[in-house]
Amino acid sequence: MRQDLKILIGFYSVLAFWPLFFHNNPGIMHILILCLLWGVVAASWDLIMGFAGIFTFGQVAFYVIGGYGSAILTRTFGISPWLGILAAGGITAIIGILVGLPCLRLKGSYVALVTFAVHMILEPFLKSEPGRAIGTGGPQGILDIPPLTFFEYTYNSMEPVPWFYTVFIISFISLFIIYKIIHSNWGLAFLTIRDSEVFARSIGVNDFKYKLIVFAISAFITGMIGAVYAHYVGMMSHRLLGLDFFLILMVMLVLGGMGRFPGAVLGAFIAVFISEELRIFETYRNVIFGAMVILLVIFMPQGIAGFLFSDNKLKSTRNLMTLMNKKLSKL
């Protein structure tokens, strides 16, 4: 079995036991559940950005679309939340493709612009008249999203343990799917497009097709997870589109290492952990986070996964120290 899968399974195995110790602490359970969810979002962002090399900033938008999508579907049409989650994934995937279409011919930074613009447009849309017409609830958002049910049991946020294990399973399956895609022919195609688009085309890799595929997959998974989140917290608000969530997602990616599975997942847990520890600084928290992103990108662009996968851990630690010394002495 490959090393990256081993790391993922090892990590999840350890995680599986945490509820034994923390099941009486709803705060920690809540954070763990969020970590599980966001780890998948980070991993699917890594899929499209780290592996396929497409600079998108639309992940948060897809997450929110998925959440709102399922919320609206389950409230307006009364369908089961499980169906809602899948449907939301589907809707988000379609939107992902629509977003990807104009980006096909564009160079890197332009894609960043378009996807960021999508993110910026989403908030006013949710608050606007047409938005409210389809049920987004305008500025207050949606406050009464139906919870998940499993046979006779209704999930509720007072009992985090069943939520934990459900999300555990959903996230593991999602991550496994991402793993499989990375190591498939599609994954190879993504890598070729990332490393050298022109060369990829010249050997017959249809970059338009693969770019749309990766947009669709990453949007599907992110939207689905957004929907799970919506049913978990029971409400959706446009405030998720604020840059707080965006910032923490970025920290996850940079910490975890782009393009190395399952770096993003590890990055997610560490980032959320740091974020919680930093809560004592209150408003300074985001300032510190922003500074962290800057420092991480300059000094440790490979992230934790880069470290884990390097052949010689001692050497790469030494290299990191040398690098830091060099940079600091140049100032």
């Binding site: 950005m49 090399g53 600079f55 900033f57 104009p102 011919r105 564009l106 160079k107 890197g108 930074s109 332009y110 960043a112 612009l113 378009v114 960021f116 613009a117 910026m120 447009i121 006013p124 849309f125 606007s128 840059l243 965006f246 910032l247 970025m250 940079v254 782009m258 408003t283 300074y284 985001n286 300032v287 986070f289 922003g290 500074a291 962290m292 992103v293 800057i294 990108v297 300059i298 662009p301 940079k327 100032l331």
Partner: protein, 288 residues
């Protein structure tokens, strides 16, 4: 009716002049360093807050201009030197540069919020009051903005064409390797360019504080608009950005007047998509 239309037109031209400053800065940075500066909006906000701080400490409008410009220059310079330059040697420097500037933007925005609080701040205009020309009423501040913006751009264009550094900047934008061969210090030019763009957008921020106030996250709108303008005008072309700024400023004014202000952002987005789909190189752009 005609009166209203002309007023909207004038409002659009005034916005256009400011947008032109912002777009020039962005086009400059991208054209020369090939980096998308996500922190651009934050420099705008920084300009606004600097103006607020300087003015509030009693140094008056003159003090504002004397102090903010060098500080903005330094901010841009050091950003390039410290945050972007170390990344250049890596293969994936473009992506990393985007992430670093995004991190910087969020850092600066939150820093502003911590220091100044989440509420808007303002300073009084340089020239208060209004002038009447026939049936039209102009806010004196708007006139100041228009004049200041046009003067800045004139100065900037002269700088680019006549000064040694300006010519070096153009050389690096046209052909970085060729510029190096003839002896231009590319690294320093990159830093200069960043610094200049920070001054341009920060000055726009300073000019607009009396009118639109300054608030910690106000820069993102500016960033997106500057981008759309440079994309519409043509990423590599300063002339394109200049014209595009005025065109889009006027369009925005009319959309706001006719459909309501909340629709303007959708208009910007439509322009962006339209440009990218119909004519990705923009009006005057050279592709890339």
């Amino acid at each position: 009716m005609l009166q209203e239309i002309i007023e909207v037109l004038i409002s659009g031209i005034t916005s256009g002049s400011i947008y032109a400053m912002m777009a020039l800065g962005m086009a400059l940075v991208y054209g020369v360093t090939k980096v998308f500066n996500f922190a651009y909006g934050s420099f705008y906000t920084m300009g606004g807050y600097l103006a607020y701080v300087v003015y509030s400490s009693g140094l008056g409008h003159l003090g504002v201009f004397l102090i903010t410009l060098p500080v903005l220059f330094a901010a841009g310079w050091w950003t390039e030197k410290l945050a972007i330059k170390p990344l250049r040697k890596r293969d994936d420097w473009e992506m990393l540069a985007v992430m670093v500037t995004l991190g910087l933007a969020l850092f600066l925005d939150n820093l502003h919020q911590v220091i100044f609080g989440p509420f808007k701040k303002s300073i009084p205009a340089l020239v208060e009051g209004q002038t009447h020309v026939g049936t039209f009423v102009f806010s004196n501040h708007d006139v100041t903005i228009l004049v200041a913006a046009l003067l800045s751009m004139l100065f900037f264009v002269l700088f680019l064409n006549k000064s040694y550094i300006g010519m070096s900047v153009r050389a690096v934008a046209q052909n970085p390797i060729g510029a190096q061969i003839v002896g231009v210090a590319n690294n320093r030019i990159f830093a200069y360019t960043f610094a200049l763009s920070a001054v341009l957008v920060g000055t726009a921020g300073v000019l607009l504080v009396p009118k639109y106030y300054v608030h910690p996250f106000g820069g993102w709108d500016i960033l997106v608009k500057a981008w759309v303008i440079t994309a519409f005008g043509g990423m590599g072309s300063l002339k394109g950005s200049f014209y595009a700024a005025f065109i889009l400023g006027i369009v925005e004014a009319f959309v706001g007047w006719h459909f309501g202000l909340t629709w303007t952002i959708f208009a910007w987005f439509t322009v962006l998509l339209g440009t990218l789909i119909i004519r990705p190189q923009g009006l005057f752009g050279t592709w890339g």
